[in-house]
Subunit: 288 residues, 4 copies
């Protein structure tokens, strides 16, 4: 998808639409000797939001990567932009949260191992010890913090502390079967991606496969979204589906769903770390 | 899908599971010289429902088609079966209900014209006159009964009378934008298939495409189901989906959705008239 | 997908990649008061081709639509660009070629009728009179030129003359079951879109559904592509697929395929007339 | 999909169609006290092949599982049936062949670990040592037999001997990048499932992703099939596809393809070991 092989810089911009933004931004890049490798932008005509992703070659660009953000600040100020500048070869530090089920974790670890995703995984945290062997296999620190209704506030503090200690920039809930509190989400200070095992907004909450079975749907799905304080209501990043039939039991739905959950979560993480996603309102723009 | 070219009889059976049903039924067919062309059955292990579809050649069967149902009755009694016997070449009489949008109607009429569906369409009824030209083109009687909140009970009586007059065996709501009352559904005395323009149970009710747009889903769907007194809650027959992206406006969703609605409704009608569907509880078994 | 509601100009550019193209083009638009509504570009790193689509508001742009192409020429010269400037509200004149099967024609006509596609259809040409009723219904001139091996060169001349007379800008082969000669394609002077009833490059040539049935594939497809002198080898615009099973006969494949052919062809035509496609080598870039 | 929870017997039958087969077979099961849990049959009207899968409860059946095949033989003789009787809880012994790429192997091993597939894996054989760590992790014997053009006949003998030693009943080529010789396939005496990384019959042979990229297709696929002496021509078991776009490089196709290959191969293995597949001619019937 990206300009692999060449080092590049990704510039993400979000502001209200006004005339001349593309010209101004591409002019900035050109003026300092940059070559734009890929650009894509979208304007939401209902809300007048302007959202853009631009990727340009590091080679030949006269501003060192570390200084680009500061150099761009005056333009951002004019247009009141939110923006982010990241070298595309920078690896995102991902903290994994898991419970008993290991399939999403194992899948992400293998993608990581074959370097499919541009991430480092400094820590895996669980409320059970079931997944310890995966952590061991991939030589990643693994911490177990059991949780009960009573100990939840305290457990969340421990989790937060550990994520901070490992300088985590993205939290991935790989079938972590706990609801993160508003407090946790307020303090974590980095995005959290969750995989919900249904085609949201259908079957919010517990046991979505059972719900889907009882409703007699002909297709099931999985949804990756940013976690927000409203359960299963965060901005959707990616969804996918698979057909089911009357011969499929709830267990078959669970089995088919696992395959979905793995690929949907992996695509969401991939897009996030490649800086392909902008959130606005409760929606995402995903630049493919 | 079916034994085209040969005349055949379709036998649909629903009862509680007991030993020997398949042997008993296939024995009945064999004893009278029948050749089974296709058989499929499903047992729901949770509810112990036994559901079967058997299709056998008319040729060589020693009981005339019109007498088979009576001949089979003693077996049905032993197992307390609900059952249905239909020659597969019998055309189902379909009454169409439409409003202003014509795409599902036009699609079904064209399938009908190339004899893709084994149906006759004796009547099209609408609460608007928008679709009159289609009826004219295909030389099908077209009745307009406008409806308001006040006149609804009376209008439904007129619609019912007309459906009865035309001996309709299946009502298809081809984007009929009225909710049929419990009274209507209680009196219509034949199945009613509706197409809902969302991936149920997501986005029940009005303006599902707008709802989907606002929620920022990455996939939209359409759902064909039997109409019951609980709005959008009837047994699902068929669903299908298509990807949408941030560049798609609500109008784009509506446009993409039209293609879905057409094929999903057509598949549902096809399966119904080929006697491939059994309803049990709020679910369907669809024998492909 | 596009900036509906607002008048806009679409600029398509193809050249070899060099530094500064995006800046130069967006600068041009900005300098004359334009507001970019949508921009997307792609650089093929293997071939160094630069391909871009930019859409900007007509309102406020200081150059009248008819003069933009000339005004842009000097920039195009510097970068040796192929480029095209089109108002997005300009309707493309489409000439339809059909044979006996009417489903793709009927589908396009209905989309046209509800103004889903930004086209005019001045003429439908066929080698059979089967589709005459559709032409009549939609009040479009219909010409029948039967063709045999012997009369083919002459028939093609007649078809060419009629297309020219109607100032056709795009020819759509809506299941036209004749192979257009190299001569024809050389002289037609506008793009030709064909729908092939298989998932190309599988099942090139005649009877692809029969071929697919005999091979026992589990999925069938349809492919819309630009017609070139190499049969079924032209640049692919769009493809889609559907599952088939062992119960499906060749006739079932044909029936399922019809639904595919309709939507795949319609999507291809839509993207072409919205100026979303650039051809380079034997490939297309489709800006969604 | 199957009657999980209950022990059951699967009976697969293939013969030429004649009257009374279903009655005779279901009668046999009923006469000995069996309860049919699931039955499905298909008659190919072109070839007159009759293909059936019946699953009945072990509980209550008066013939011990080991004697059923012999007891059924007289009926099979009358109808000249090929048939197979297997307890559904019998685990199939699977020998894995791999080369350098580990994703299909790792995927199957994890499904095996969570007991998703009813298999034992007594041996993994490779022509490289790359996958040794997976074998070690899952504690499965791993044999490396490097192969060159010259040593191929000898290497195949070693592989064959090892498969025989481990009493392998199914060989799975999990991206084994060697073509098995006709000799090997003649002597292996059990089915061999291969995963081809294209949507067959498109892109037969080497580097299918490169071929797909160069052709500019909009969808790529993967195909699981039984290996026969004609390369990539064996009976297809399962296929699936995913969309690709102009931004996808060959490497992106390879990456997206991996996800397809894993699920397509896993589905094929699952259906094989659940005795859901019958091969006839160069086609399969897959009873879902």
């Amino acid at each position: 998808m990206t300009a692999r092989g060449k080092d590049s810089i990704v510039l993400l911009i979000h502001c209200k639409d006004r005339k001349g933004i593309v010209a101004r931004v591409s002019g900035f890049i050109h003026d300092f000797g940059g070559n734009i490798l890929d650009s894509d932008h979208h304007t939401d005509e209902e809300t007048n939001d302007f959202l853009m992703r631009m990727e340009f070659a590091t080679e030949g660009f006269q501003i060192p990567p570390g200084d680009i953000s500061a150099a761009f600040a005056p333009i951002a100020k004019v247009y009141e932009m939110h923006y982010d500048v990241s070298p595309s070869n920078r690896r995102t530090r991902v903290g994994m949260l898991v419970s008993k089920q290991d399939h999403c974790l194992a899948d992400l670890l293998q993608r990581h191992r074959r370097d499919e995703l541009h991430i480092d995984i400094p820590i895996i945290i669980s409320n059970h010890d079931t997944c310890a062997s995966w952590a061991e296999l991939f030589k990643i620190p693994f911490a177990v913090y059991p949780v009960t209704k009573e100990t939840k506030p305290q457990q969340e503090k421990q989790v937060l502390a550990l994520l901070k200690e490992h300088q985590v920039e993205l939290v991935v809930m790989a079938r972590y079967m706990q609801i993160l509190s508003a407090d946790f989400l307020g303090q974590v200070a980095c995005p959290v991606i969750n995989i919900h095992h249904s085609f949201l907004p259908a079957f919010i909450g517990a046991n979505p496969y059972r719900q889907a079975y009882d409703r007699g749907v002909k297709i099931i799905g999985a949804t990756a979204h940013y976690a927000t304080q409203d359960l299963d209501e965060g901005p959707i990043i990616e969804q996918d589906v698979i057909r089911v039939g009357h011969r499929d039991t709830v267990e078959d739905l669970v089995r088919k769903g696992r395959d979905l959950e793995e690929v949907v979560l992996a695509r969401a993480v991939r897009r996030h770390v490649e800086r392909r996603i902008l959130v606005y309102g409760r929606k995402t723009v995903v630049f493919d």
